[in-house]
């Protein structure tokens, strides 16, 4: 009886149809990467309110807020800027063909010298350093929060009572 009722329910009819369409979609796929690409382009990035609501409901878990995403993004941009700068500083001697140990030592000691030098922003070093550190720490916290939701999504949680 319950089955009869559910099959007459228009929502369930549509849900069943979606289920069949998903199966059909996956059957005709040649590669998972291409399937993922199509889903991302046409569904996940769809600028449609109803589709987004559906995805939120289907996702189950509450997604992180937009502000937290922005903070994470800024933190990661700062981090990547530092990495780019550091990477270039270490890469330059190889591009410039500094190959002997003494040449490399000379270059690296210059780096240390400048890092400890007295530049015009030196009076503000404390506040600049603190601001950057605080931003990175806040970003790290939000990143951890995202990592926790990723761990949940991956199913890496031990259920209570499980051995």
């Amino acid at each position: 009886m319950a089955v009869m009722q559910s099959s007459e329910d228009p929502s369930e009819k549509i849900a069943n149809q979606i289920l069949l369409d998903i199966k059909a979609f996956m059957i005709i796929q040649e590669s998972e990467v291409k399937a993922k690409h199509t889903i991302q382009r046409l569904i996940l990035e769809a600028h449609d309110e109803y589709v987004n609501r559906f995805l939120r409901l289907a996702g189950g878990e509450k997604k992180s807020s937009k502000t937290s995403h922005i903070i994470v993004a800024v933190g990661e941009l700062i981090l990547s800027s530092f990495l780019i700068l550091g990477g270039l500083v270490l890469l330059a001697p190889f591009i410039a063909n500094l190959s002997t140990p003494s040449q490399l030592y000379g270059y690296l000691s210059q780096v240390l010298l400048y890092l400890t030098s007295n530049g015009p922003l030196f009076p503000y070093a404390r506040i600049i350093g603190f601001s950057l550190a605080a931003l990175l720490l806040v970003s790290a916290m939000y990143t951890l929060r995202m990592a926790s939701s990723s761990i949940k999504e991956a199913g890496l949680l031990v259920h209570s009572g499980a051995e």
């Binding site: 998972e32 690409h37 800027s81 700068l85 500083v89 530049g119």
Partner: protein, 618 residues
């Protein structure tokens, strides 16, 4: 309470204000861009002249590049927010199916056997004898494997309704056009093509200015006649270049016929001259094996390195794949169709055959040419000092008439190398625009970017160009080889039996690319750095318009912190503006201001786009 009309007016006002801000920012962006370009130019010139790398100069250069990027970002603020349609799909070229088996094979061989063979083979075989010949064989075999994978993938892609134009399109079909693997393949292929085109252009200039007038004089021509011939050759080159680049669609059939004639003439003359070289010396191959018999342990590494070095002589076959749309569905085969009336093969089959045969024919001719040159036992020092060794040898051993014939073959080889590589490079850039990595307006100027890049790279010198072409093409072809795995199952691991060929081909390509480090470490460092920068560019593109602006603003801020340490102690301090007799003192301080203003303006622009213009979903 405000009425709807008032709120509309308020919105319109805010919009006008936003556009006024963007106009102001764009104007300031142009100023920052010009200043940064000057700074980068002076700093690079200073570094090249001083030949000493100082940390302060490096940081100043990084700051200047950050400022340059900011200038570009600010300059395009206004057009970017007003002309979103420039990213829409562009008109596709209507294919003209005119090429058949013969033309495709001729174009394949023509693109494979280029002008570099007249330099690389003579020098290499005289220096390394049997090792050089074996290297040619292995480089040919590696290319043969890649050609086989190309034809396999072509069959899979065509049967599943895809349109594979050019090698990187296989990667695009396998993993999608927004994949970093595809982006790396496309850009490294583009880099390899522009470096090869630059090398061909360099050889042509050398030939045109130095070699040809000398040959003409030796053959008894007057100064006027030799000068006229040089101009005629230049005009011919320009006509062939224009015919292929501007009027290609209109004269597709004619280009095909000319290509068949040129390739046939080139093959016959090289084969005949190789025979003459061998006959002159009675095929004296003494000492061909002996230099390496004493030390067998050094063979594997030397063979690997030399194989990588000579790889440039084979990979042109892939030009065939770009003709796919312009080729007929069924084609007759010369000789076979004459023997068996009505014999025709389908497109997939003749593409497979032409790819494989163009590599085999090139391999046979290259080896024959190499052995015949070795049999002459020319002096290595004299050969190295000659501008184009192949032409020098023809003059010395076969006389001035044969030298003139060799010069004409060299010209044909230049025509059939420079033009296809230039066009392939332009096509790679416009494909990137079609895939949404850059605006189509820039994609339409791909020929200009390619031409400028060729001119810049030509300064690098012959050895650098050969090595970087090899490195970039090996990386690109290695990735294309792996596309055969991705196309079948969407991922690399775990490997199964069918993956063996693509996996081994990828492995050989990457090992050979790494082996170039032994010849010229700086080339590999340059190549790897280019790949990292390409990856970085890919990530920046993936950030989206506002993401890139955020990144530049953040990077500007970090750069300010780094550059401030240089104000008192280093970097370029005075800049002279050409044509304006102006001097900028304290250039470092000005750069810090530029970076600060850029960071602020870009951050404000993000706020305006989000809050006032509502360009995002926030």
């Amino acid at each position: 309470m405000s009425t709807p009309g008032q709120s509309d007016m308020g919105r319109e006002k805010a919009r006008s204000g936003a556009l006024a801000f963007k106009s102001f920012a764009a104007l300031l962006g142009v100023v920052i861009l010009i200043f940064s370009l000057l700074y980068v130019w002076y700093q690079l010139r200073f570094l090249v002249r001083s030949q000493i790398l100082q940390y302060s100069d490096l940081i100043a250069l990084v700051g200047a590049f950050a400022s340059l990027l900011s200038g570009v970002a600010l300059t395009v603020l206004l057009p970017e927010s007003m002309r979103l349609k420039s990213w829409s799909p562009i008109r596709k070229i209507v294919p003209k199916k005119v090429y058949g088996f013969g033309t495709v094979l001729a174009i394949g061989i023509g693109a494979t056997m280029g002008s570099p063979l007249f330099i690389l083979i003579p020098l290499n075989v005289v220096q390394y004898s049997v090792l050089s010949t074996l290297s040619l064989f292995f480089a040919g075999m590696l290319t043969f494997l890649v050609a086989k994978l190309y034809s396999d993938m072509n069959e899979i892609a065509t049967k599943s309704g895809k349109n594979p134009i050019g090698g990187p399109s296989f990667v695009s079909i396998a993993v999608g056009s927004r994949s970093v693997r595809y982006f790396l393949t496309r850009v490294s292929n583009w880099l390899a093509n522009i470096t090869l085109a630059a090398y061909s252009a360099l050889l042509f200039i050398l030939f045109d200015l130095e070699v040809l007038p000398k040959i003409m004089t030796n053959a008894g021509f007057t100064l006027f006649e030799s000068q006229s011939t040089v101009y005629a050759v230049d005009a011919l080159f320009a006509v062939w270049f224009l015919l292929n680049t501007v009027f290609e669609r209109r004269f597709l059939r004619l280009i095909g016929y000319v290509q068949i004639f040129l390739t046939l003439a080139m093959i016959l003359i090289i084969a005949y001259q190789s025979y003459l070289f061998g006959s002159t010396s009675s095929w004296d191959l003494s000492g061909f094996l002996s230099p390496y018999l004493s030390d067998l342990s050094s063979w594997p590494v030397a063979l690997l390195v030399n194989t990588a070095y000579l790889f440039l002589l084979f990979f042109g076959f892939q030009e065939i794949q770009s003709l796919y749309n312009d080729s007929v569905e069924e084609s007759s085969v010369p000789i076979l169709s004459n023997l068996k009336k009505g014999y025709k093969i389908n497109k997939i089959s003749y593409f497979r055959a032409t790819m494989l045969w163009s590599v085999i024919i090139a391999l046979i001719i290259n080896i024959f040419y190499a052995i015949s040159i070795y049999s002459l036992h020319p002096d290595l020092a004299t050969l190295s000092s000659s501008a184009i060794p192949g032409i020098y040898l023809a003059g010395k051993y076969l006389g001035s008439t044969q030298q003139l014939i060799t010069a004409s073959v060299f010209l044909i080889a230049t025509f059939t190398t420079f033009v296809p590589t230039f066009m392939a490079a332009s096509r790679h850039l416009s494909s990137l625009a079609e895939d949404g990595y850059m605006p189509h307006s820039l994609g339409r100027l791909s020929w200009l970017f390619t031409l400028v890049s060729i001119a810049v790279l030509a300064v690098g010198g012959q050895d650098f160009l050969v090595n970087i072409t090899d490195f970039m093409m090996l990386i690109s072809l290695g990735l294309i080889a792996l596309a055969a795995v991705w196309m079948r199952k969407g991922r690399t691991l775990p490997l199964d039996r069918l993956d063996l060929l693509p996996f081994l081909t990828w492995l050989f390509c990457f090992i050979a690319a790494g082996a170039i480090y032994i010849i010229q470490p700086s080339t590999v460092i340059f190549g790897v750095t280019s790949l990292i920068i390409v990856y970085l560019v890919y990530d920046l593109v993936e950030l989206g318009v506002l993401g890139v602006q955020m990144m530049i603003a953040v990077f500007d801020t970090i750069s300010i912190l780094a550059v401030t340490s240089l104000v008192r102690t280093g970097g370029i301090s005075v800049l002279k503006i050409p044509f304006a007799s102006l001097t900028i003192n304290n250039a470092n301080t000005l750069m810090i201001y530029c970076l600060t203003v850029s960071a602020v303006l870009l951050s404000l622009n993000i706020l305006i786009d989000v809050k006032i213009l509502g360009r995002t979903r926030i």
